[in-house]
Each structure stands twice: as structure tokens, then as C-alpha cells.
Amino acid sequence: MRQFKGVLIGVLGSILLPLICFSQENIKIEREVGIKERQVPGAAVDWLYDAFEKVKKPNWFQEFYQDGFSYEAKFKMGGNYYSVEFDSLGIIEDVEVELELEELDRMVQDKLKSYFSENYQVYKINKIQIQYTGKKGDLEDFFDENEKEGITVRYEIEYRGKESNKVDEIWEGTFTADGVLLTRRKIDIRITDNLIF
């Protein structure tokens, strides 16, 4: 009888439940797929190699959204991780470079530190990316010749922060070139049930 109970629970729990629970939840079309360089619009590939002459074997991705797609090149150069975004036609949108806090201007470091310490009981910076946006030619001149005209600089910072009387969360904040917060959004950590339970 006991064995029968065990078998019954096992069968009900393990076979029938997934069939019931596999709900018709809509899958959001928002995904990143690795692609070959030959699948990327020529304009994007040409821009990348013109702006970063020393780049070797970038990894290319196509990112799909609800209303379209874009391309992204990721690579490491000079000890830093780069992420270069292009629109669906291969036109440059922005360039992000990962940096350490200590690599930023002293004034920006101080401004950021005071923002975090004033707004969070506990914080920890996970990742800082400096983001360069501008017209195609201006961005190329910036990376090629360090010409700063027409370039907008922002910082994208992923950090862990606990506001008073609230739970600890992971945030992504966008800051101006001077270190002033523009926007922030909460980052949802993908479900961890298979890692925890």
C-alpha cells in the first residue's frame, strides 16, 4: 500500500503536473543570438574595423525585440571589454567600454560615491560601462583620433543597492559625464530555482 502511495504521488507530481502547468504564457520576443560576421550588414563590419583597427575576432550578436532587431559586436581590446551596438541597417548607435571605478576622473568618482552612500544603506558596484553616442563620423573620429566633438558621454552602472527599509536589489543606473544620475531601473535576476532547490 505504501509503495502504491509513493508511486501514485510520483506519477501525479512528476508527470501530470508539468502537463497541467505548462501554461500558455506568452514568450517575449527579446533574445540575443550569436551570428557569423558574414551575416552582419557590411556597413557595421566596415565601421567597426575602421574605428578599431586593432580589433581581433569580435563576437557578433543579433538582438531581437518586439518591434525589430539590432546588431552588437563584443570584443576585448587593450584589457577592456567593448560592446558596439548597430541598428538593423548596420548604422552605429553607441559604443560601451567597461572600466573600473578607479579609471574614472577623480571628480566623477567622488560624485558617484556620494550618490551611492547618500541613497543606499549598503551598495556594491558590479560593473561600470562608459557609453559613447554620436553621429557615425564623430564616433569613428573619437576612437580613431580621440576627437571629442559631437560625442555624448554617459555612464551605465550596474550595482547592488539596499535602500533603507527595503530589500537589497540589483540596479542599472545611467549617469551623466559628471556623475549625476539620470535614470535607474531594477534588474530582475533570472529565476534561480534550478540552482537553489
Binding site: 505504501r2 509513493g6 504521488i9 512528476s14 503536473l17 504564457e25 533574445r31 543570438v33 558590479n126 540552482l195
Partner: protein, 226 residues
């Protein structure tokens, strides 16, 4: 997929060798279901059912079987400590012919989010109470790495590969035992809240008391979050 097949064949070869030495080996079918409810205070409730059926046991002979081995039901309350760490307590009941048991579980888990993959660490202690037997005390540490198979992040509709290993140290009536669980998984994130995993779960124990035993479980796991 081809790599998984090769690994599967490798494991089978290892087990055939053990079988010839008359060390215990059995294999079977292992489905599991995990349901997780996220509470308003960011803590979680988890309910899990695991079921093991033996289809081959070298102590019985070459005849294939379909015998119920055990069914485990468990529930956890998980407290969010920080964005990437949590602590949980759990209650567990085992249905096993002649060896029904209860267990209390304590665990601490943390997550490392790296550039292209993530690593989950889980440290558990548990105490198992089985009628007519001494209490079994265990300490276990599982490390699991999850790699997306498309792109640098895992998005809904995409597959992933996971490898985990968990040594389990146990004390029961003065006797010490060590068990190891190595699991290779191919999974798919169907939506933000649902996953289906196919795994090969390779368990070894009895290292020190000349009762070496291996168990190989092809496993299918379903995870649902709501």
C-alpha cells in the same frame, strides 16, 4: 547534443566495468517537479517532488524492472538576504518501501553572475530521521554552472547547458560516508517562469566501507515559478 551523447556512453562504459566487479549499480527513471512561489516580501516558497523508479539493478540480474525506489516530497521557505544570497529551511518526507523517513534541511545559497554564465553555490546541512535507524547528519556543498547556448545571456525560448557537482558528507551512528553527485543538464527556458531540463545524474557513494555503489539517473525536471 553530440557531446552529451558521448558523455552518456562514457558513463555507461564506467558502469559496465563496475557491474563486472559486482559493485552495486542501478539505474532508472527520475522525474522531478519544482514549484516556486515568490512572495510579496521577496521571499520564496518552494515545493518539490522527486520520484525514482529502478529499471536495472545488477544485484537482481539482467532482467529489466520497473520498481518504485523512492518518492521524495519537500517544501522550503527561502529568505532573500541580499540580491544574490538567500537562506532556507525545508521539510522533507520520503516514501520508500521499509525506509520511509523525514528530514529537516537548512541551506545557504549564493549566486555569482559572470559575463557569459552564472554559478550557483548551495551549502546545506540536513538531519534525516528514519524509523528504527540512527539519525543521519549530512553536510553538502553544490556548485552549479549554467551556460547559455545562444548568445551571452539566456533569453526565453533558448537552451542552456548546466554542470553541477555536490559532495555530501554524512555521519550516522558513528559511521562516516561520502557521496558525490555529478549532473550534466541540457535545459530550456520556455518563458520567464518555466524551465524543462534533461539530465544525467551520476551518484557514487560507499567509498570507505567497501560498499561502493553507483547510481545513474536519466532525469527530467520541470520548474515553474509563479
Amino acid at each position: 547534443m553530440r557531446r552529451l551523447l558521448i558523455l552518456g556512453l562514457f558513463f555507461m562504459r564506467v558502469f559496465c566495468g563496475y557491474g563486472q566487479d559486482r559493485q552495486t549499480f542501478f539505474t532508472g527513471f527520475f522525474p522531478e517537479v519544482s514549484l516556486t512561489k515568490k512572495l510579496e516580501n521577496s521571499n520564496k516558497l518552494n515545493f518539490k517532488v522527486e520520484n525514482q523508479h529502478v529499471i536495472y539493478d545488477n544485484r537482481i540480474g539482467d532482467k529489466p524492472q520497473f520498481d518504485h525506489y523512492r518518492t521524495d516530497v519537500m517544501g522550503f521557505y527561502d529568505w532573500k538576504l541580499t540580491a544574490s544570497t538567500s537562506a532556507a529551511i525545508g521539510l522533507f518526507h520520503r516514501f520508500q518501501d521499509g525506509a520511509d523517513g523525514n528530514r529537516i534541511i537548512q541551506q545557504y545559497a549564493f549566486l555569482n553572475r559572470l559575463r557569459d554564465f552564472r554559478i550557483g553555490h548551495r551549502i546545506r546541512t540536513d538531519q534525516t530521521f528514519t524509523r528504527g535507524q540512527k539519525v543521519e547528519w549530512r553536510l553538502r556543498y553544490r556548485v552549479a554552472s549554467e551556460f547559455p547556448l545562444n548568445g551571452a545571456t539566456l533569453d526565453p525560448g533558448e537552451s542552456y547547458f548546466m554542470i553541477s557537482n555536490e559532495p555530501i558528507f554524512s555521519l550516522k551512528g558513528g559511521g562516516f560516508n561520502l557521496e558525490n553527485r555529478l549532473i550534466l543538464t541540457l535545459g530550456k527556458l520556455y518563458a520567464k517562469s518555466q524551465k524543462l531540463e534533461y539530465s544525467i545524474d551520476y551518484r557514487t557513494d560507499g567509498f570507505f566501507n567497501n560498499r561502493f555503489r553507483t547510481r545513474l539517473w536519466p532525469k527530467i525536471s520541470y520548474y515553474y515559478n509563479f
